[in-house]
Amino acid sequence: MSRRDAVPMLSVSNIESYYGPIIAIRGISLEVPRQQIVAVLGANGAGKTTLLKTISGIMEPEKGAVMLEGQAIGGDDPAAIVRKGVAHVPEGREIFPLLSVRDNLRLGAYTRAVADGIAKDMAMVFGYFPILKERAGQMAGTLSGGQQQMLAIGRGMMARPRIMLLDEPSLGLSPLAVKEIFAVIRRLNVEQGVTMMLVEQNARAALELADYGYVLELGRVVMEGSSSRLLSSPDIQEFYLGVKEGGQRGQRRWKRRKTWR
Protein backbone atom coordinates (compact mmCIF):
# COMPACT_ATOMS: atom_id res chain seq x y z
CA MET A 1 0.00 0.00 0.00
CA SER A 2 1.38 3.38 -0.97
CA ARG A 3 1.54 5.89 1.85
CA ARG A 4 -0.08 8.66 -0.16
CA ASP A 5 -3.11 6.95 -1.67
CA ALA A 6 -5.72 8.29 0.76
CA VAL A 7 -6.41 11.28 2.97
CA PRO A 8 -4.17 10.67 5.98
CA MET A 9 -5.52 10.78 9.52
CA LEU A 10 -3.13 13.62 10.29
CA SER A 11 -0.98 15.73 8.11
CA VAL A 12 1.27 18.55 9.12
CA SER A 13 2.81 20.80 6.54
CA ASN A 14 5.58 23.30 7.01
CA ILE A 15 4.66 24.23 10.57
CA GLU A 16 6.76 26.61 12.62
CA SER A 17 6.33 27.13 16.36
CA TYR A 18 7.99 29.57 18.70
CA TYR A 19 8.53 30.04 22.42
CA GLY A 20 8.46 33.82 22.49
CA PRO A 21 11.22 34.80 20.08
CA ILE A 22 12.85 31.37 20.10
CA ILE A 23 11.99 29.08 17.23
CA ALA A 24 11.51 25.45 18.29
CA ILE A 25 10.07 23.92 15.11
CA ARG A 26 11.44 25.07 11.77
CA GLY A 27 9.08 23.88 9.07
CA ILE A 28 8.10 20.30 9.80
CA SER A 29 5.96 18.29 7.37
CA LEU A 30 4.77 14.78 8.07
CA GLU A 31 1.86 12.42 7.64
CA VAL A 32 0.22 9.83 9.83
CA PRO A 33 -1.91 7.44 7.73
CA ARG A 34 -5.11 5.99 9.17
CA GLN A 35 -4.78 3.05 11.54
CA GLN A 36 -1.00 3.17 11.49
CA ILE A 37 1.58 3.76 14.17
CA VAL A 38 4.07 6.45 13.25
CA ALA A 39 7.13 7.04 15.40
CA VAL A 40 8.81 10.42 15.80
CA LEU A 41 12.36 10.07 17.05
CA GLY A 42 14.93 12.57 18.12
CA ALA A 43 17.27 13.57 20.89
CA ASN A 44 16.31 15.76 23.82
CA GLY A 45 15.40 19.25 22.63
CA ALA A 46 14.79 18.20 19.02
CA GLY A 47 11.27 19.64 19.13
CA LYS A 48 9.17 16.49 19.51
CA THR A 49 7.05 17.75 22.41
CA THR A 50 6.60 21.11 20.74
CA LEU A 51 5.38 19.34 17.62
CA LEU A 52 2.73 17.43 19.59
CA LYS A 53 1.69 20.55 21.50
CA THR A 54 1.26 22.37 18.23
CA ILE A 55 -0.93 19.59 16.85
CA SER A 56 -3.14 19.44 19.95
CA GLY A 57 -3.61 23.19 20.06
CA ILE A 58 -1.72 23.89 23.30
CA MET A 59 0.58 26.00 21.11
CA GLU A 60 -0.41 27.87 17.98
CA PRO A 61 1.61 27.28 14.85
CA GLU A 62 3.13 30.51 13.57
CA LYS A 63 3.07 29.15 10.02
CA GLY A 64 1.89 26.05 8.21
CA ALA A 65 -1.16 23.82 8.36
CA VAL A 66 -2.36 20.98 10.56
CA MET A 67 -5.04 18.81 8.92
CA LEU A 68 -7.11 16.10 10.57
CA GLU A 69 -8.60 13.85 7.90
CA GLY A 70 -8.40 16.70 5.45
CA GLN A 71 -9.92 19.28 7.80
CA ALA A 72 -7.78 22.19 9.00
CA ILE A 73 -7.40 22.25 12.80
CA GLY A 74 -4.32 24.48 13.13
CA GLY A 75 -5.02 27.35 15.53
CA ASP A 76 -8.19 25.79 16.99
CA ASP A 77 -8.34 25.75 20.76
CA PRO A 78 -7.40 22.52 22.57
CA ALA A 79 -10.98 21.70 23.57
CA ALA A 80 -12.16 21.81 19.96
CA ILE A 81 -9.26 19.63 18.85
CA VAL A 82 -9.96 17.02 21.54
CA ARG A 83 -13.60 17.05 20.47
CA LYS A 84 -12.56 16.36 16.88
CA GLY A 85 -10.77 13.21 17.98
CA VAL A 86 -7.19 14.05 18.95
CA ALA A 87 -6.09 12.77 22.38
CA HIS A 88 -2.75 14.01 23.68
CA VAL A 89 -1.04 11.77 26.23
CA PRO A 90 1.56 14.23 27.47
CA GLU A 91 5.19 13.83 28.38
CA GLY A 92 5.58 13.18 32.10
CA ARG A 93 2.04 11.75 32.21
CA GLU A 94 0.47 14.84 33.83
CA ILE A 95 -2.21 13.01 35.76
CA PHE A 96 -4.35 14.70 38.42
CA PRO A 97 -2.52 13.44 41.51
CA LEU A 98 -5.14 14.11 44.19
CA LEU A 99 -8.09 12.77 42.22
CA SER A 100 -9.05 9.12 42.13
CA VAL A 101 -8.10 6.95 39.19
CA ARG A 102 -11.77 6.85 38.23
CA ASP A 103 -12.11 10.64 38.29
CA ASN A 104 -8.97 10.96 36.18
CA LEU A 105 -10.59 8.70 33.60
CA ARG A 106 -13.83 10.68 33.79
CA LEU A 107 -11.91 13.85 33.02
CA GLY A 108 -10.57 12.19 29.90
CA ALA A 109 -14.16 12.14 28.67
CA TYR A 110 -14.74 15.78 29.63
CA THR A 111 -15.43 17.00 26.09
CA ARG A 112 -18.03 14.34 25.44
CA ALA A 113 -21.38 16.00 25.90
CA VAL A 114 -23.42 12.81 26.20
CA ALA A 115 -22.79 10.79 29.32
CA ASP A 116 -23.81 7.42 27.95
CA GLY A 117 -21.03 5.31 26.61
CA ILE A 118 -18.66 6.69 29.24
CA ALA A 119 -19.25 3.76 31.57
CA LYS A 120 -18.75 1.36 28.69
CA ASP A 121 -15.51 3.03 27.70
CA MET A 122 -14.27 2.96 31.26
CA ALA A 123 -14.90 -0.79 31.28
CA MET A 124 -12.96 -0.98 28.02
CA VAL A 125 -10.00 0.87 29.59
CA PHE A 126 -10.16 -1.40 32.65
CA GLY A 127 -10.08 -4.34 30.26
CA TYR A 128 -6.75 -3.16 28.85
CA PHE A 129 -5.35 -2.08 32.22
CA PRO A 130 -6.81 -4.36 34.94
CA ILE A 131 -4.57 -2.75 37.58
CA LEU A 132 -6.45 0.54 37.08
CA LYS A 133 -9.70 -1.20 37.93
CA GLU A 134 -8.14 -2.57 41.11
CA ARG A 135 -7.00 0.93 42.05
CA ALA A 136 -10.03 2.80 40.72
CA GLY A 137 -10.81 4.47 44.03
CA GLN A 138 -7.22 5.30 44.91
CA MET A 139 -5.62 8.73 44.47
CA ALA A 140 -3.75 8.75 41.17
CA GLY A 141 -0.66 10.27 42.79
CA THR A 142 -0.14 7.05 44.74
CA LEU A 143 0.27 4.94 41.59
CA SER A 144 3.69 3.79 40.38
CA GLY A 145 5.21 5.44 37.32
CA GLY A 146 4.14 2.63 35.02
CA GLN A 147 0.62 2.67 36.40
CA GLN A 148 0.44 6.43 35.96
CA GLN A 149 1.44 6.00 32.33
CA MET A 150 -1.32 3.44 31.93
CA LEU A 151 -3.72 5.91 33.50
CA ALA A 152 -2.59 8.67 31.13
CA ILE A 153 -3.18 6.40 28.13
CA GLY A 154 -6.50 5.17 29.50
CA ARG A 155 -7.54 8.76 30.16
CA GLY A 156 -6.69 9.56 26.55
CA MET A 157 -8.84 6.64 25.36
CA MET A 158 -11.81 8.06 27.28
CA ALA A 159 -12.01 10.88 24.73
CA ARG A 160 -12.79 8.26 22.04
CA PRO A 161 -9.92 9.53 19.92
CA ARG A 162 -9.33 8.87 16.26
CA ILE A 163 -5.66 9.59 16.81
CA MET A 164 -3.59 9.49 19.96
CA LEU A 165 -0.44 11.56 20.39
CA LEU A 166 1.88 9.73 22.78
CA ASP A 167 4.79 11.74 24.16
CA GLU A 168 7.56 9.48 25.45
CA PRO A 169 5.39 6.90 27.19
CA SER A 170 8.52 4.90 28.09
CA LEU A 171 10.19 7.77 29.95
CA GLY A 172 11.54 6.66 33.31
CA LEU A 173 9.91 3.24 33.24
CA SER A 174 11.41 -0.20 33.78
CA PRO A 175 11.99 -2.33 30.65
CA LEU A 176 9.21 -4.62 31.79
CA ALA A 177 6.72 -1.78 32.15
CA VAL A 178 7.74 -0.40 28.76
CA LYS A 179 7.08 -3.76 27.17
CA GLU A 180 3.68 -4.01 28.78
CA ILE A 181 2.66 -0.50 27.75
CA PHE A 182 3.90 -0.85 24.18
CA ALA A 183 1.94 -4.08 23.86
CA VAL A 184 -1.24 -2.26 24.88
CA ILE A 185 -0.51 0.57 22.45
CA ARG A 186 -0.31 -2.03 19.69
CA ARG A 187 -3.57 -3.66 20.84
CA LEU A 188 -5.39 -0.31 21.03
CA ASN A 189 -4.20 0.39 17.50
CA VAL A 190 -5.39 -2.95 16.14
CA GLU A 191 -8.48 -3.61 18.24
CA GLN A 192 -9.84 -0.08 18.73
CA GLY A 193 -8.60 1.28 15.42
CA VAL A 194 -6.84 4.25 17.02
CA THR A 195 -4.13 5.81 14.89
CA MET A 196 -0.98 6.40 16.93
CA MET A 197 1.69 9.07 16.72
CA LEU A 198 4.43 7.89 19.04
CA VAL A 199 7.18 10.25 20.15
CA GLU A 200 10.15 8.44 21.64
CA GLN A 201 13.78 8.67 22.57
CA ASN A 202 13.75 4.91 22.95
CA ALA A 203 14.19 4.47 19.22
CA ARG A 204 14.49 0.71 19.04
CA ALA A 205 11.30 -0.01 21.00
CA ALA A 206 9.43 2.63 19.03
CA LEU A 207 10.56 1.41 15.61
CA GLU A 208 9.77 -2.18 16.52
CA LEU A 209 6.22 -1.07 17.19
CA ALA A 210 5.75 1.50 14.42
CA ASP A 211 5.04 1.18 10.72
CA TYR A 212 6.90 4.31 9.76
CA GLY A 213 9.25 6.76 11.40
CA TYR A 214 10.51 10.32 11.26
CA VAL A 215 13.70 11.62 12.82
CA LEU A 216 13.81 15.19 14.12
CA GLU A 217 16.88 17.24 14.78
CA LEU A 218 16.85 20.89 15.88
CA GLY A 219 13.23 21.35 14.86
CA ARG A 220 13.52 19.77 11.39
CA VAL A 221 12.80 16.36 9.88
CA VAL A 222 16.19 14.99 8.91
CA MET A 223 15.19 11.48 7.92
CA GLU A 224 12.08 9.39 7.35
CA GLY A 225 11.26 5.91 6.21
CA SER A 226 9.60 2.63 7.02
CA SER A 227 10.55 1.23 10.40
CA SER A 228 12.53 -1.64 8.89
CA ARG A 229 14.50 0.76 6.72
CA LEU A 230 15.26 3.05 9.67
CA LEU A 231 16.23 0.13 11.88
CA SER A 232 18.82 -0.94 9.34
CA SER A 233 20.13 2.53 8.51
CA PRO A 234 23.71 2.99 9.70
CA ASP A 235 23.11 6.57 10.85
CA ILE A 236 20.14 5.55 12.95
CA GLN A 237 22.08 2.63 14.33
CA GLU A 238 24.95 4.83 15.32
CA PHE A 239 23.09 7.79 16.81
CA TYR A 240 19.79 6.39 18.07
CA LEU A 241 20.15 2.67 18.57
CA GLY A 242 23.48 2.76 20.37
CA VAL A 243 25.03 0.11 18.17
CA LYS A 244 28.34 1.92 18.63
CA GLU A 245 28.12 0.86 22.27
CA GLY A 246 29.74 -2.45 21.28
CA GLY A 247 33.07 -0.67 21.26
CA GLN A 248 32.52 0.77 24.72
CA ARG A 249 31.53 -2.59 26.07
CA GLY A 250 34.77 -4.01 24.74
CA GLN A 251 36.65 -1.29 26.52
CA ARG A 252 34.88 -2.06 29.77
CA ARG A 253 35.72 -5.71 29.44
CA TRP A 254 39.33 -4.81 28.98
CA LYS A 255 39.31 -2.67 32.12
CA ARG A 256 37.73 -5.44 34.10
CA ARG A 257 40.37 -7.87 32.96
CA LYS A 258 42.93 -5.41 34.10
CA THR A 259 41.53 -5.29 37.62
CA TRP A 260 41.63 -9.06 37.87
CA ARG A 261 45.36 -9.07 37.76
Partner: protein, 312 residues
Amino acid sequence: MATRIGTLASAWLAAYGGASDLESLQLLVSGLANGCVYGLIALGFVLIYKATEALNFAQGDMMMLGAFVTLGLTNDHYWALPFWASVPIALLLMGAFGYVLEVTILRRMSGQSQIAVVVLTVALGFIIRFLAGAIWGHEPQSLESPIAGVNVRFAGLVLGLDEVAVILVTIVLTGLLYLGFARTRLGLAMQATSQNQLAAYYMGIPVKRVSALIWCLSGIVATAAGILLASKGSIDPNSGFLGIKAFAAAVIGGLGSLPGALLGGLVIGVIEPFAARHVAAGFSQVVPYAVLLLVLIIRPSGILSQVRDKKV
Protein backbone atom coordinates in the same frame (compact mmCIF):
# COMPACT_ATOMS: atom_id res chain seq x y z
CA MET B 1 -16.66 19.21 58.53
CA ALA B 2 -19.68 18.83 60.76
CA THR B 3 -18.03 16.03 62.67
CA ARG B 4 -14.85 18.01 62.89
CA ILE B 5 -16.69 20.91 64.51
CA GLY B 6 -18.35 18.39 66.80
CA THR B 7 -15.08 16.88 67.95
CA LEU B 8 -13.61 20.31 68.42
CA ALA B 9 -16.59 21.32 70.54
CA SER B 10 -16.44 18.24 72.75
CA ALA B 11 -12.68 18.63 73.13
CA TRP B 12 -13.22 22.15 74.38
CA LEU B 13 -16.01 21.02 76.67
CA ALA B 14 -13.73 18.41 78.19
CA ALA B 15 -10.93 20.90 78.60
CA TYR B 16 -13.18 23.39 80.32
CA GLY B 17 -14.78 21.09 82.85
CA GLY B 18 -17.97 20.07 81.09
CA ALA B 19 -21.25 21.94 80.80
CA SER B 20 -20.84 23.62 84.17
CA ASP B 21 -18.67 26.26 82.65
CA LEU B 22 -21.42 27.87 80.61
CA GLU B 23 -19.44 30.95 79.92
CA SER B 24 -16.78 28.92 78.19
CA LEU B 25 -19.41 27.30 76.04
CA GLN B 26 -20.79 30.68 75.09
CA LEU B 27 -17.31 31.87 74.26
CA LEU B 28 -16.80 28.74 72.21
CA VAL B 29 -19.97 29.27 70.20
CA SER B 30 -19.21 32.88 69.47
CA GLY B 31 -15.63 31.95 68.61
CA LEU B 32 -16.82 29.27 66.24
CA ALA B 33 -19.23 31.72 64.64
CA ASN B 34 -16.44 34.23 64.03
CA GLY B 35 -14.25 31.38 62.85
CA CYS B 36 -16.86 30.38 60.30
CA VAL B 37 -16.72 33.87 58.80
CA TYR B 38 -12.92 33.79 58.67
CA GLY B 39 -13.07 30.29 57.28
CA LEU B 40 -15.45 31.25 54.49
CA ILE B 41 -13.30 34.20 53.47
CA ALA B 42 -10.26 31.92 53.57
CA LEU B 43 -12.14 29.38 51.47
CA GLY B 44 -12.67 31.90 48.69
CA PHE B 45 -9.03 32.89 48.93
CA VAL B 46 -7.85 29.29 48.65
CA LEU B 47 -10.27 28.51 45.81
CA ILE B 48 -8.70 31.22 43.69
CA TYR B 49 -5.17 30.40 44.76
CA LYS B 50 -5.53 26.73 43.89
CA ALA B 51 -7.14 27.21 40.52
CA THR B 52 -5.25 30.24 39.24
CA GLU B 53 -2.25 30.64 41.57
CA ALA B 54 -3.32 34.23 42.21
CA LEU B 55 -3.27 35.51 45.81
CA ASN B 56 -6.40 37.61 46.05
CA PHE B 57 -5.81 40.14 48.80
CA ALA B 58 -9.16 41.75 47.97
CA GLN B 59 -11.05 38.70 49.24
CA GLY B 60 -11.91 40.45 52.52
CA ASP B 61 -13.08 43.49 50.62
CA MET B 62 -15.26 41.35 48.40
CA MET B 63 -16.81 40.00 51.60
CA MET B 64 -17.43 43.56 52.76
CA LEU B 65 -18.86 44.58 49.39
CA GLY B 66 -21.16 41.55 49.34
CA ALA B 67 -22.44 42.49 52.79
CA PHE B 68 -23.07 46.09 51.73
CA VAL B 69 -24.84 45.04 48.54
CA THR B 70 -27.20 42.85 50.59
CA LEU B 71 -27.64 45.61 53.12
CA GLY B 72 -28.35 48.12 50.37
CA LEU B 73 -31.01 45.85 48.93
CA THR B 74 -32.78 44.91 52.13
CA ASN B 75 -32.35 47.57 54.81
CA ASP B 76 -35.33 49.90 55.30
CA HIS B 77 -33.06 52.88 54.95
CA TYR B 78 -32.16 51.81 51.40
CA TRP B 79 -34.22 49.65 49.00
CA ALA B 80 -36.19 47.74 51.66
CA LEU B 81 -36.56 44.57 49.62
CA PRO B 82 -37.50 41.39 51.53
CA PHE B 83 -34.42 39.75 53.09
CA TRP B 84 -34.97 36.41 51.36
CA ALA B 85 -35.12 38.12 47.98
CA SER B 86 -32.09 40.28 48.66
CA VAL B 87 -29.79 37.41 49.55
CA PRO B 88 -30.01 35.55 46.21
CA ILE B 89 -29.81 38.83 44.28
CA ALA B 90 -26.70 39.85 46.20
CA LEU B 91 -25.09 36.42 45.73
CA LEU B 92 -25.82 36.59 42.02
CA LEU B 93 -24.52 40.15 41.65
CA MET B 94 -21.32 39.36 43.54
CA GLY B 95 -20.82 36.15 41.58
CA ALA B 96 -21.11 38.19 38.40
CA PHE B 97 -18.70 40.74 39.87
CA GLY B 98 -16.12 38.00 40.50
CA TYR B 99 -16.60 36.58 37.02
CA VAL B 100 -16.24 39.96 35.31
CA LEU B 101 -13.19 40.78 37.42
CA GLU B 102 -11.44 37.66 36.14
CA VAL B 103 -12.44 38.14 32.52
CA THR B 104 -11.61 41.84 32.29
CA ILE B 105 -8.60 42.22 34.58
CA LEU B 106 -7.02 39.10 36.01
CA ARG B 107 -6.95 37.15 32.77
CA ARG B 108 -4.68 39.81 31.31
CA MET B 109 -2.25 39.23 34.15
CA SER B 110 -1.51 35.64 33.19
CA GLY B 111 2.19 35.25 32.63
CA GLN B 112 2.95 38.20 34.92
CA SER B 113 4.74 37.70 38.22
CA GLN B 114 2.78 36.74 41.30
CA ILE B 115 3.84 40.01 42.94
CA ALA B 116 2.16 41.97 40.15
CA VAL B 117 -1.08 40.10 40.82
CA VAL B 118 -0.78 40.72 44.56
CA VAL B 119 -0.28 44.45 44.00
CA LEU B 120 -3.24 44.44 41.65
CA THR B 121 -5.56 42.80 44.16
CA VAL B 122 -4.36 45.09 46.95
CA ALA B 123 -5.22 48.05 44.72
CA LEU B 124 -8.56 46.45 43.95
CA GLY B 125 -9.22 46.25 47.68
CA PHE B 126 -8.56 50.00 47.99
CA ILE B 127 -10.99 50.74 45.17
CA ILE B 128 -13.72 48.53 46.65
CA ARG B 129 -13.29 50.19 50.05
CA PHE B 130 -13.46 53.64 48.47
CA LEU B 131 -16.59 52.78 46.49
CA ALA B 132 -18.33 51.22 49.48
CA GLY B 133 -17.56 54.32 51.56
CA ALA B 134 -18.84 56.62 48.82
CA ILE B 135 -22.09 54.68 48.39
CA TRP B 136 -22.96 53.52 51.91
CA GLY B 137 -20.91 55.83 54.12
CA HIS B 138 -18.29 55.05 56.72
CA GLU B 139 -20.52 54.43 59.76
CA PRO B 140 -20.85 50.83 60.92
CA GLN B 141 -24.22 49.39 59.91
CA SER B 142 -26.03 46.16 60.69
CA LEU B 143 -27.87 44.02 58.23
CA GLU B 144 -31.59 43.86 59.00
CA SER B 145 -31.79 40.12 58.85
CA PRO B 146 -34.27 37.76 60.55
CA ILE B 147 -31.48 36.28 62.65
CA ALA B 148 -30.01 39.53 63.93
CA GLY B 149 -30.22 40.17 67.65
CA VAL B 150 -32.41 37.20 68.58
CA ASN B 151 -31.34 35.06 71.51
CA VAL B 152 -32.20 31.43 72.04
CA ARG B 153 -32.25 29.87 75.48
CA PHE B 154 -31.07 26.33 75.55
CA ALA B 155 -30.47 24.33 78.74
CA GLY B 156 -29.67 27.43 80.74
CA LEU B 157 -27.50 28.71 78.00
CA VAL B 158 -28.10 31.98 76.21
CA LEU B 159 -26.87 31.75 72.66
CA GLY B 160 -27.27 34.31 69.94
CA LEU B 161 -29.47 32.91 67.19
CA ASP B 162 -27.20 34.77 64.80
CA GLU B 163 -24.18 32.83 66.02
CA VAL B 164 -25.93 29.49 65.83
CA ALA B 165 -27.22 30.37 62.37
CA VAL B 166 -23.76 31.32 61.20
CA ILE B 167 -22.44 27.94 62.23
CA LEU B 168 -25.33 26.06 60.64
CA VAL B 169 -25.19 28.01 57.41
CA THR B 170 -21.45 27.41 57.18
CA ILE B 171 -21.93 23.69 57.68
CA VAL B 172 -24.61 23.55 54.97
CA LEU B 173 -22.58 25.69 52.58
CA THR B 174 -19.49 23.56 53.11
CA GLY B 175 -21.51 20.42 52.45
CA LEU B 176 -22.92 21.88 49.25
CA LEU B 177 -19.48 22.94 48.06
CA TYR B 178 -18.12 19.50 48.85
CA LEU B 179 -20.85 17.79 46.87
CA GLY B 180 -20.45 20.25 44.04
CA PHE B 181 -16.74 19.59 43.77
CA ALA B 182 -16.96 15.83 44.14
CA ARG B 183 -20.09 15.03 42.16
CA THR B 184 -20.55 17.50 39.33
CA ARG B 185 -18.72 17.65 36.03
CA LEU B 186 -17.89 21.32 36.53
CA GLY B 187 -16.69 20.67 40.08
CA LEU B 188 -14.41 17.94 38.85
CA ALA B 189 -13.11 20.27 36.15
CA MET B 190 -12.40 22.89 38.82
CA GLN B 191 -10.45 20.38 40.90
CA ALA B 192 -8.56 19.23 37.83
CA THR B 193 -7.68 22.79 36.86
CA SER B 194 -6.33 23.51 40.31
CA GLN B 195 -4.26 20.33 40.47
CA ASN B 196 -2.72 20.44 37.02
CA GLN B 197 -3.64 23.30 34.76
CA LEU B 198 -1.67 22.05 31.78
CA ALA B 199 -3.29 18.63 31.97
CA ALA B 200 -6.68 20.32 32.19
CA TYR B 201 -5.95 21.95 28.84
CA TYR B 202 -4.99 18.56 27.42
CA MET B 203 -8.36 17.14 28.53
CA GLY B 204 -10.16 19.87 26.63
CA ILE B 205 -11.37 21.59 29.81
CA PRO B 206 -12.03 25.28 29.04
CA VAL B 207 -9.50 26.41 31.64
CA LYS B 208 -10.11 30.14 31.20
CA ARG B 209 -13.84 29.80 31.69
CA VAL B 210 -13.25 27.58 34.70
CA SER B 211 -10.97 30.26 36.20
CA ALA B 212 -13.67 32.87 35.70
CA LEU B 213 -16.22 30.56 37.34
CA ILE B 214 -13.85 30.08 40.28
CA TRP B 215 -13.76 33.85 40.78
CA CYS B 216 -17.53 33.83 40.51
CA LEU B 217 -17.83 31.13 43.16
CA SER B 218 -15.32 32.93 45.31
CA GLY B 219 -17.41 36.12 45.11
CA ILE B 220 -20.47 34.14 46.17
CA VAL B 221 -18.73 32.51 49.13
CA ALA B 222 -17.31 35.89 50.19
CA THR B 223 -20.79 37.38 50.07
CA ALA B 224 -22.18 34.56 52.18
CA ALA B 225 -19.47 35.35 54.73
CA GLY B 226 -20.33 39.04 54.53
CA ILE B 227 -24.04 38.43 55.06
CA LEU B 228 -23.30 36.28 58.10
CA LEU B 229 -20.88 38.83 59.52
CA ALA B 230 -23.24 41.77 59.01
CA SER B 231 -26.13 39.83 60.56
CA LYS B 232 -24.34 39.10 63.79
CA GLY B 233 -22.54 42.39 64.10
CA SER B 234 -21.98 45.35 61.89
CA ILE B 235 -19.91 46.26 58.89
CA ASP B 236 -18.18 49.32 57.61
CA PRO B 237 -15.90 49.80 54.60
CA ASN B 238 -12.88 48.77 56.67
CA SER B 239 -14.37 45.40 57.63
CA GLY B 240 -12.52 43.97 54.67
CA PHE B 241 -9.39 44.00 56.80
CA LEU B 242 -10.77 40.84 58.39
CA GLY B 243 -9.32 39.37 55.23
CA ILE B 244 -5.90 39.49 56.91
CA LYS B 245 -7.13 37.07 59.57
CA ALA B 246 -8.67 34.93 56.87
CA PHE B 247 -5.34 34.92 55.07
CA ALA B 248 -3.68 33.75 58.28
CA ALA B 249 -6.40 31.10 58.55
CA ALA B 250 -5.67 29.93 55.02
CA VAL B 251 -1.95 29.69 55.78
CA ILE B 252 -2.55 27.85 59.06
CA GLY B 253 -4.76 25.37 57.24
CA GLY B 254 -2.18 24.85 54.52
CA LEU B 255 -2.58 27.18 51.56
CA GLY B 256 -4.26 25.04 48.97
CA SER B 257 -6.48 22.94 51.20
CA LEU B 258 -10.18 23.81 51.34
CA PRO B 259 -10.97 21.91 54.57
CA GLY B 260 -7.74 23.41 55.93
CA ALA B 261 -8.97 26.93 55.23
CA LEU B 262 -12.14 26.33 57.22
CA LEU B 263 -10.24 24.63 60.02
CA GLY B 264 -7.73 27.49 60.11
CA GLY B 265 -10.61 29.95 60.34
CA LEU B 266 -12.17 28.04 63.22
CA VAL B 267 -8.84 27.84 65.04
CA ILE B 268 -8.35 31.60 64.86
CA GLY B 269 -12.00 32.28 65.65
CA VAL B 270 -11.97 30.10 68.77
CA ILE B 271 -8.61 31.32 70.00
CA GLU B 272 -9.67 34.97 69.94
CA PRO B 273 -12.38 35.05 72.63
CA PHE B 274 -10.46 32.72 74.93
CA ALA B 275 -7.32 34.76 74.51
CA ALA B 276 -9.33 37.87 75.27
CA ARG B 277 -10.51 36.30 78.52
CA HIS B 278 -7.34 34.62 79.71
CA VAL B 279 -4.56 36.78 78.30
CA ALA B 280 -3.79 40.29 79.38
CA ALA B 281 -5.51 42.96 77.35
CA GLY B 282 -3.22 44.31 74.68
CA PHE B 283 -1.63 40.91 74.16
CA SER B 284 -4.75 38.96 73.39
CA GLN B 285 -5.09 40.28 69.86
CA VAL B 286 -1.63 38.98 69.10
CA VAL B 287 -2.40 35.40 70.09
CA PRO B 288 -3.89 34.26 66.75
CA TYR B 289 -0.76 35.44 64.98
CA ALA B 290 1.46 33.79 67.55
CA VAL B 291 -0.39 30.58 66.69
CA LEU B 292 0.18 31.30 63.00
CA LEU B 293 3.92 31.60 63.68
CA LEU B 294 3.92 28.45 65.76
CA VAL B 295 2.16 26.46 63.03
CA LEU B 296 4.56 27.79 60.43
CA ILE B 297 7.53 26.77 62.55
CA ILE B 298 6.25 23.30 63.41
CA ARG B 299 4.61 22.51 60.10
CA PRO B 300 5.64 25.05 57.48
CA SER B 301 3.21 23.75 54.89
CA GLY B 302 0.17 24.17 57.16
CA ILE B 303 -2.00 21.76 59.13
CA LEU B 304 -3.86 20.06 56.29
CA SER B 305 -1.50 20.74 53.44
CA GLN B 306 -1.40 18.28 50.60
CA VAL B 307 2.25 18.80 49.82
CA ARG B 308 3.20 15.29 50.86
CA ASP B 309 0.54 13.81 48.60
CA LYS B 310 1.72 15.84 45.67
CA LYS B 311 5.24 14.49 45.84
CA VAL B 312 4.78 11.70 43.32
